[in-house]
Subunit: 319 residues, 2 copies
Amino acid sequence: MVVLAVHGGAGGDGPWRGMTEADPQRLNCMHSLLSDIGARLESGALSALEAVTQAVEIMEDEALFNAGRGSVLDASGAITMDASIMRGEDQAAGAVVGVSKARHPIRIAYHLLKGGWPVMLNGEAADAYGLTKGLEMVDPTWLVTELRQAQWAKWKANKSAPGSTDEDDGAVLDHDGMGTVGAVALDRDGKLAAATSTGGMTGKPDGRIGDTPIIGAGTWADRNVAVSCTGVGEAFIRTCAARSLAAYHDRESLVASGKRVLDEVAPYGGRGGLIAVNADGELIVPFQTMLMYRGTYVNGAIEVGIGPETYDELSSVSS
Amino acid sequence: MVVLAVHGGAGGDGPWRGMTEADPQRLNCMHSLLSDIGARLESGALSALEAVTQAVEIMEDEALFNAGRGSVLDASGAITMDASIMRGEDQAAGAVVGVSKARHPIRIAYHLLKGGWPVMLNGEAADAYGLTKGLEMVDPTWLVTELRQAQWAKWKANKSAPGSTDEDDGAVLDHDGMGTVGAVALDRDGKLAAATSTGGMTGKPDGRIGDTPIIGAGTWADRNVAVSCTGVGEAFIRTCAARSLAAYHDRESLVASGKRVLDEVAPYGGRGGLIAVNADGELIVPFQTMLMYRGTYVNGAIEVGIGPETYDELSSVSS
């Protein structure tokens, strides 16, 4: 069997009440890529590593997700993007922090993984490394969309409003600004991979690094399980969420492990979600926010959506 | 009981053969800080968090360690420093990447931990954050020592030598260039903390991030155990070494967990070592390199050294 799952970010306070309509553009993007990449994963044309890379690239190109083109703007109004990727069989990994020119940050991370050393590159050096690999660089203005400019202006206005306090200065992870993307896959050879990419949070302070580029926090893959997380990054760093899930799954079911990780991040303000697949093809897509864009491909069956209500009610969808 | 342990980096190929003389300046630095900070930890004047911060600050000031003043030079001949810190009781954390002005990078990480959000700051933004906290900034030339300039010149000459291949271009983690520093502590209240600080590797490529600022890789602390690692960072990232040790220690002894982590990093080129203390006061200081500068304070007894032969022969030193 093969499995491919993707997420487009978790967001929103409170429980799912069925009152938010799913955005068809994002669902269609996920459905289309699951259909295409899932079939090629099924045929053996793609490895898990290639599948998650291509899945994330497609979501980076979809402007409504917060990664690649359509990334949210930081405090200065610029886009700085983070991404990481990991291959389960040998725990090879690649990660980039604060890139601003690459069309596909995840592809730079992929090349770092393939190159073997270094694993992690920062800022302009990461973009420059991508250029040496022949990757497409774009004008930073091409990455910016009107939607993200409007969200940034709203954040800026609230920040400057009379009566605003220091507490109001925080960056925003709301329904509008969410959209970190990720993918996990199990291929025909039983091999696993995970990838995650993001623009961060609207109004994030200059230099802030979240969990997405941190191997073990936002992304993890080993011989047993592959994980991609989304949410308030600081809590996922403090709990080393993705690696912790793998540790718990050594002793607990995948469902219990996913629930345990989300229970751990919650007290640290870590609203979010994750997707994970294990070597047996079991799959979970739990979240504790109001909603999470996510889609799954399991044995040819594709599901996309933004519910269900809470991760407590979610069980494995694999067969 | 209270426990404090420090390391000053692991390095050298092959087994310990008793042929390398320990450098008295580094041993004296460790002995002196263990005596001072250990006593204040014992009296209850210092928490584990304060103890590891001060211990690392003192080692950052010792020019023969590769952190703070005396950091190694990167490919461009500049100093860029990484550090991270974690408090076990609530897994609060702070980390800085690529700072170049702060005298004590670990103290910026400490203030990020205290501030709560963000956890991780990059480059100039991290230095600027330190300045807002009143921390001492220094002229970058003050950080540079003649020893590190000579090591860099040697690296540069080898890199440019006729007949050198791409493989020769790698950064250097040899006996001369080692010296990442770290500390772990258990205080009178039974609370744990860990901290790590480094200048990286001589000739490291621009933008390369190692394991030291990565929570879960170079540094970890929770209610059960505190860990600080040193060595070839990429392997410690790929194995999420510090967090993995904590996971293994849920089921295995501390000694077995430390050995397992070093066995895992080895196939990825991960020569190095670590120090770890658990909530029962058990302590390990294993390494798989030729030597590791390390010192321990346990119930008033201080030991410093660079042996023993291999981590296989090292057992817990706690009582």
